[in-house]
């Protein structure tokens, strides 16, 4: 029982990271109808920025600063590489973001160098014990951070003028334009938000460990998450992220009981799940069912 609860809690911790990453994908998709494959690069850029900032300003100031910086980076990428492509087929834009991803990661890797870099988080691998159940502090921190950010995003989309304009533009771009919403600004804000979220997610993914060039692979798990949750649903991204995290940790804990599965099967579980979801319910749990005339 303890083992089950502990793996559930671990799952919520990693799931929070996936949820933050997936939120970035969904926000960009809703605003621009394009899946941005540049998210992994922004995550890596954010983490590396944190590793450089922490020694001077401390971890707590480094994270928001890095998130803001990554947001600005994403804004710049949107402005220079994506905006000129507005109106082109979504496929073309998606491939461009793929190129942006590779380019940004090459530059960021140069900053990682050969040293082992740490984000300098205050939690390390310490645990918090409640009775017999132990939970790693970094997982708890990830859950809390994700909860705060999700609440903040909810308030932003619900109560602010820009948030309302973004929701309206996602529903009907022309009608929003006709009422004076600047669709370009909506694109820019969505990219900046996604960049900032990716930076925070990366920080928690690297907490308690070290930062290397392969960290970006974690961001790929956001793809199964958005397929599960539904490409155009923000709640779906959160629920899907937590679900995939929990599933992954449960597999990690219990797969050893099934000898023929072998070790490390948990690495592929999100992708197996994605395959199943695509076969059974391609629009995901909360996504809009695509109605297309054949």
């Amino acid at each position: 029982m303890t083992e089950l609860i502990e793996s559930l809690l671990r799952g919520l911790g990693t799931g929070s990271v996936y949820a933050l990453l997936a939120l970035g994908f969904v926000i960009i998709y809703k605003a621009t109808r394009v899946i941005s494959f540049a998210q992994p690069a922004f995550m890596l850029a954010g983490v590396v920025a944190v590793t450089y900032l922490t020694p001077t300003v401390g971890f707590w100031a480094a994270v928001p600063l890095a998130a803001a910086g990554t947001g600005l980076l994403a804004l710049g990428v949107e402005r220079t590489a994506v905006r000129p492509m507005v109106g082109r087929p979504a496929f073309v834009v998606a491939i461009i973001t793929l190129g942006v991803d590779v380019a940004v990661r090459v530059v960021v890797n140069a900053f990682i160098g050969l040293d082992v870099r740490h984000v300098g988080d205050p939690w390390g691998l310490r645990t918090l014990a409640v009775g017999p159940v132990e939970m790693q502090q970094r997982h708890l921190a990830a859950v809390v951070a994700a909860a705060l950010l999700v609440a903040g995003l909810f308030a932003f989309f619900r109560y602010t003028r820009t948030g309302l304009a973004m929701r309206a533009a996602a529903l009907d771009q022309e009608a929003a334009l006709a009422h004076g919403v600047s669709v370009g600004a909506v694109f820019a804000v969505s990219w900046a938000l996604a960049g900032g979220l990716a930076a925070v997610a990366g920080t928690f993914a690297a907490a308690g460990g070290s930062v290397d060039g392969a960290l970006w692979l974690i961001a790929l798990t956001a793809l199964p998450v958005i397929i599960l949750g539904g490409l155009d649903s923000l709640p779906g991204a959160v629920v899907g992220g937590l679900a995939v995290g929990v599933l992954q940790e449960l597999t990690a804990t219990y797969a050893n009981d099934v000898a023929w599965l072998g070790g490390n099967v948990s690495v592929i579980t999100p992708y197996v799940l994605m395959l199943v979801v695509l076969l059974v319910r391609p629009y995901g749990l909360f996504g809009t069912r695509e109605v297309e005339r054949v």
Partner: protein, 263 residues
């Protein structure tokens, strides 16, 4: 004064849709714009509100002026700020947002006055006040049309462009929309009413234009248009001599030919 002079609009660089069209909407007036499908009514509204771009359209000749300032090169947001708001064809409300959110979005360009304008709009459309927390997509057709009109009024326009507000509504609702247009106009907003329902449009308008394949073919005070034999026949379905027996199909062909010669 909202004025269109010799406007020519081309889609995709090749399709000439408006061919030297001129109309004038005086401040505080109601002007009706009639025309069959494909005459260029919606294109004209797009040209007035800066929405041609996203349809790959462009003004190639002529100009649109608002109080003598050319506005056809401005972005939609700038035109809304200058006081021209549009109710698009088919209402185009944001179905997943609530009624109040739809209205708030209408005031996007003028956030400081949203609260005041909200109460004005609720006064004008009491139905919307009752339904303010409802999801807009679940409103009835008439309520959605009122929401679309209210949303446009949230920008505090001096000129309101209405694209087929009677589309798909029952006669009694059309009557209600008509009264609302009169009320909006009485509050000082000029209205450009694009309609297929000629009877309704001409009954409120002071002046009317009839569009045909991108040109203005008739330009008269509304009362004269209502009395005009051609308009009565083509748009109101009334025949010149009342009590006349039914027309044969050959006469219909004849009218199509004759229409080309109008004015």
């Amino acid at each position: 004064m909202l004025r269109v002079r010799n406007l020519e609009v081309v889609y995709d660089d090749v399709m000439l849709v408006l061919r030297g069209l001129s109309i004038t909407v005086p401040p505080g007036g109601i002007v009706a714009l009639l025309g069959a499908n494909g005459a260029g009514k919606t294109t004209l509204l797009r040209a007035l509100t800066g929405l041609l771009d996203i349809h790959h359209g462009a003004v190639v000749r002529g100009e649109v002026t608002l109080d003598d300032e050319p506005v056809h090169r401005l972005r939609p947001a700038a035109i809304v700020r200058r006081g021209v708001a549009q109710v698009m064809e088919g209402r185009r409300i944001f179905g997943e947002l609530t009624v109040e959110e739809n209205l708030r979005l209408g005031g996007h360009t003028d956030p400081r006055r949203i609260t005041g304008r909200l109460s004005e709009v609720y006064d004008l459309f009491p139905v919307l006040a009752d339904r303010r927390r409802r999801t807009a997509g679940y409103l009835s057709g008439g309520e959605q049309q009122m929401l679309a009109m209210g949303r446009a009024l949230m920008a505090g326009p001096r000129y309101l462009l209405l694209d087929e507000p009677s589309l798909g509504l029952a006669p009694r609702l059309v009557e209600q929309i008509r009264e609302l247009i009169v009320a909006i106009n009485a509050a000082g907003t000029a209205v450009l009413l694009v309609e297929q329902n000629a009877t309704m449009a001409l009954s409120v308008a002071a002046h009317g234009y009839v569009l045909e394949t991108g040109r203005v073919v008739l330009d008269k005070p509304a009362a004269q248009l209502l009395a005009d034999d051609d308009v009565r026949e083509f748009y109101l379905g009334l025949h010149a001599g009342e009590g006349h027996t039914r027309r044969s199909f050959r006469d219909v062909k004849h009218y199509r030919r004759r229409k080309r010669w109008l004015s």
